[in-house]
Amino acid sequence: MKKEEWLRGEIAKWRSEGAVDEATAATLLARYPQSESRIGWGAIIAGSFGALLVGLGVIAIFAANWDFLGRGARAAVSVAPLVACCGVAILAKARGWRSMALWEPLGILWFVSTAAAACLVAQTYNVGGRVPDLVMFVAVLTLPVVWTTRSVAAMSTWPVLALVYGCSSAKWWSGAVTGDIVKALLMLAASIPAYVAFLRRRPSRVALVSSQLVTGLVYSFGTALMLVVCLDCGIQAGIMVFWGCSALVLAIGAAFKLPVWPMVAVVVASFAATPTVAQYRSGLFSLFVISLVFAVATTVYGIVKKRLAYMNIGSILLLYLILAKFFMSRVDFTVKGIVLIVSGVALAALNVVLVRAKRRA
């Protein structure tokens, strides 16, 4: 039984026993509102996966039997799943069905159907257009799906379309990429209202954490990757871009109390710091020093705040930075082996100490 269900049962018991009056019971119930779905996340994932399989299966059947249909029939067949999804969505809205067990798979199926409809019609007329145009078309058509269903999968996939658009449309060889980057960033911004609406619905913890993980990764790593591809920048500028995007996601996550975003941002920033150990580029040394400071700061923050994840990310990065430099040296392998063992033991000991400190606290 979930905690909130247990609490609701207890409040009902207190009320019947007269331990609390009606007003107090109502105040308590309002303090712990029911999450939107009583159905387990496992069922939602299974339903979503099922919806994805159904969508892909329908596309496969259409593709295999395409030649037997005329152009009109093809168009009708392409749009039919999309209309069916809308029909279910209208029914669900009219009846007030709010369960994620319905909206999550429906969002996925609707998203896939919309993209498939656009692609199938394009194939019918052999529109061998540019990839960015197709991505933009699909993105515009699927945005209402994201806003309407607030499906975690659809919501997390949509910003990827914006990033693909940015990467595929940027003519980095021509030097004129600003317009493409601005368009891609505006597209990315269009995904934010759906996420805000999703957060306001007080989703379950698993939904909240998984959505933050995916969106945090897309907004930090994805955006940085797109910018690096568009700007075709070198390794030093690339690292700075990754750090900049991570810093932005960290700041927004901290400001709006999205606890997973800062962690994702720190992981992405740490990942971006890994090339700084390369010796063949002298310009990287200053970035290497910054990475060391960042790793120490993250470790210290994790120890002070008793956050194991931060401590581990920071200490692993610190160990990586030091060991990578150390292993590039000409020191004997026996010494290198001993250093490795000492590092492993130190990391384990740090974890044990912190876990004990947390328990004592």
Binding site: A89, A94, T124, G128
Partner: protein, 211 residues
């Protein structure tokens, strides 16, 4: 009230999606129905793309030296921004096949003009045109004087059934000399509708081959 708002939102989403997809259908169906049929010599192969499915990649690479826009002699490869149009006309004594007669930034007369998919500008003389015994300096001087040629391409993907794609490619490889891309042209837009081998649509040719 909230329920009605939700229903209205979903209806609006459906309307947007159906109108957008419907517009796509209308735009291309109009060209296929009412457009002028144009046949251009082509080569084709099945690129086996797991993302897009099976399709025949048509290579229609038409060359033309009649360029109706300014070309910078030093930066001759620089293609102007925006759409480039190609004028199609039947080539005399070529079995009714069309060739590109001119390229321009916009139609300049009442001929059959179409938007090109891509345009590449190059020197009119290729490296294959270098004479035996001619030094590279002499060749480059001759190449510079030869002027600029435009190499244009048109829509190049014909999507076909997964099962028949390999056989279609096989047929095309055997009868490459008689392969023709069939397009429809209307109001400057061009749509690829079929590939013909020896005057027969590719699918009919494949099915005949199977029988």
């Amino acid at each position: 009230m909230e329920m009605n708002k939700g229903v209205v939102c979903v209806c609006a989403a459906l309307a947007l999606q159906v109108v957008a997809v419907g517009f796509l259908v209308w735009r291309y169906e109009r060209i296929v129905q009412k457009g002028t049929e144009v046949r251009i010599k082509c080569q084709a192969y099945d690129p086996y793309d797991p993302l897009r499915g099976r399709y025949l990649r048509v290579t229609v690479s038409e060359t033309c030296t009649n360029i109706l826009f300014e070309v910078d002699a030093d930066n001759y490869w620089k293609v102007p921004e925006g759409d480039i149009y190609a004028k199609l006309a039947k080539a005399p004594g070529d079995g009714g096949l069309y060739r590109v007669e001119a390229v321009a930034r916009e139609p300049t007369d009442a001929g059959l003009w179409v938007k090109t998919k891509s345009l590449r500008l190059a020197r009119a003389l290729d490296h294959e045109d270098k004479r035996k015994g001619e030094s590279y300096d002499e060749f480059y001087a001759r190449q510079k004087k030869s002027g600029t040629k435009a190499v244009v391409s048109f829509p190049d993907q014909l999507f076909i059934n997964e099962k028949v794609a390999p056989e279609a490619e096989n047929l095309l490889r055997k009868a490459i000399a008689s392969a023709v891309a069939v397009f429809r042209v209307l109001d400057g837009e061009i749509v690829l509708t079929d590939i013909e081998i020896g005057g027969k649509p590719i699918l009919s040719a494949v099915r005949e081959g199977e029988e």
